[in-house]
Symmetry: C2
């Protein structure tokens, strides 16, 4: 016996029974009770130096972020978390003085597991590896559709109001690590109103809204003065020289939700908001090809480029 | 638009409709029709320099191996492939002269997709990243249990015969890249006989059989002269000075199946073998703690250490 298998035994001991998990970690595959409604599946790989700086944030926050980003993807569909699988490529020499590879693995597991428990999510399997390169964490998250269905990026219609679930911008100052994925908020919204389209803000408000426009085949205009700006966007603005509004429009990893729904439903939602911080920021337009506009306080409209974070290839 | 999103658009175009896939790549999560029987889930991360040497094997074979290793895990449970998700951490400077990151991604996809099509498996989602480090490929594979159930590592019983599905050893000379995962063979075996326990050989025959013994709480003895030895084990033996038998017992990544079943069923299986290369190699014993023995041609038994490949931690 040695490192990898001892660690897997440690993981198995930490695994609690769950009615969704017929067979947990320790075999060639996990076995799950099949969900009754549609099965959702999403996967995210987070890497040291790209999605976090391990030497600065430590294993707990790196692990937490990896699961939180996946939960945010499920939230974007308004689905219920069902089970998670965790793969690690661990550095053989972690960039944290005095921390062994095994200790790093335990820290990452703690970060993941603490958040998983808060969302009643079993970790049913994974794969543990080490190499002479930086940390990579891959999580695959399975979900079950709500009884009301699920929400895609493709259902927005001309006339729809566009909402966000919280203030935006400057996430890099801390929120990108410690945000609470909007799983409960998404389900509360779906229970309150028929949502037409939704996605989470991972690339940036403009870029992610543009994903909705492309999938839904429509355009949109955002009202500059209605975009909720996070205090962090103001702080960051003082460092970058870019305006807080620019940060709110283009910064990635806010992990708030963008969604659209019909105007009458939107008004009802505002009359009885099921969650705090709901903010209408614009409307969908029938024009094609899909174009995103920003309406300034004086009424002028200017094109809003769907810039945001993307991996160079 | 830029690298990552253009590549995702290219992936979406390559994706064919599948009755299991209600919503494919391009949204925050894939949506699948829930399987009727138990849902299996397994994940494997393969890394350049550990599981393959990208500069030597190229993207197609690296991608193929990543999916094949996952399919082997499903085969080990005798389950049907259902859907796959693929995450890539792509090197910004691939170690292959003249090959761009985008071209490498396409090669990997081709390797994965060709094997997926051979196993009627839809690729329903993924995550594409790039970084200043070597290639890592993570695949999560979902499966559906057969109508006869699924086979774990935990069901072996004293008296069971132990089989392998093919000759072993020397996989590093090529088989570890080009093996055919034993998905169909596992299902044919399960249709022919009630299997008690099964796993695939990824760490090595001795190490993986020991996993079965630990989970099943029993011991086993292997007959040295009955272990089927691959020609590659003989070739490798000439380079290493270790015996072909040692290679067959301890080399990783043969990706054949080890399984056990009751003696009368074992005899029936040998009378009407549903697949070629079926070889009985030993029997399970009631002794505890779980111990693995090797019986030599002269009848003497010696302890067989469950050595095999493991990630140092």
């Amino acid at each position: 016996m040695n490192g990898e298998f001892e660690y897997i035994a440690w993981l198995c001991e930490r695994t609690r029974p769950d009615p969704r998990m017929l067979l947990g970690p320790g075999d060639d595959a996990a076995v799950l009770r099949p969900p009754q409604r549609a099965l959702l599946a999403t996967t995210d790989m987070l890497m040291d130096g790209v999605d976090f700086h391990l030497a600065e944030v430590g294993g707990v926050r790196a692990g937490r972020k990896a699961l939180a980003a996946n939960l945010s993807d499920l939230a974007a569909m308004a689905a219920h978390p069902y089970a998670a699988l965790v793969s690690l490529a661990l550095p053989q020499h972690p960039p944290i003085p005095g921390l062994s590879t095994r200790q790093l693995a335990e820290e990452i597991d703690t970060g993941i597991r603490t958040l998983a428990e808060a969302f009643d999510l079993p970790i049913v399997g994974g794969d543990t590896n080490s190499w002479a390169a930086p940390l990579a964490i891959n999580i695959t998250l399975l979900g079950e559709a709500d009884e009301r269905g699920y929400v895609t990026r493709g259902g927005a219609q001309a006339g729809d109001w566009i909402f966000v679930t919280g203030p935006l911008g400057g996430s890099i100052l801390g929120k990108h690590l410690d945000f609470v994925p909007r799983v409960r908020e998404a389900l509360a919204l779906l229970a309150a109103a028929p949502l037409h389209a939704m996605c989470d803000i991972s690339d940036g408000l403009a870029a992610d809204l543009f994903h909705i426009l492309e999938q839904s085949r429509c355009s949109a205009v955002l009202r500059a003065q209605d975009i909720p700006i996070a205090p962090a966007a103001v702080t960051l603005s003082q460092q970058t020289g870019r305006s807080p509004l620019e940060h709110a429009l283009q910064d990635g990893e806010d992990f708030e939700l963008i969604f659209t729904l019909a105007p009458d439903q939107a008004q009802r939602l505002l009359d009885h908001p099921p969650i705090p911080h709901l903010t209408p920021i614009g409307v969908c337009l029938p024009d094609l090809p899909p174009t995103l506009w920003l309406e300034l306080p004086d009424g002028r409209r200017q094109p809003l480029p769907p810039r945001g974070w993307s991996h160079p290839m």
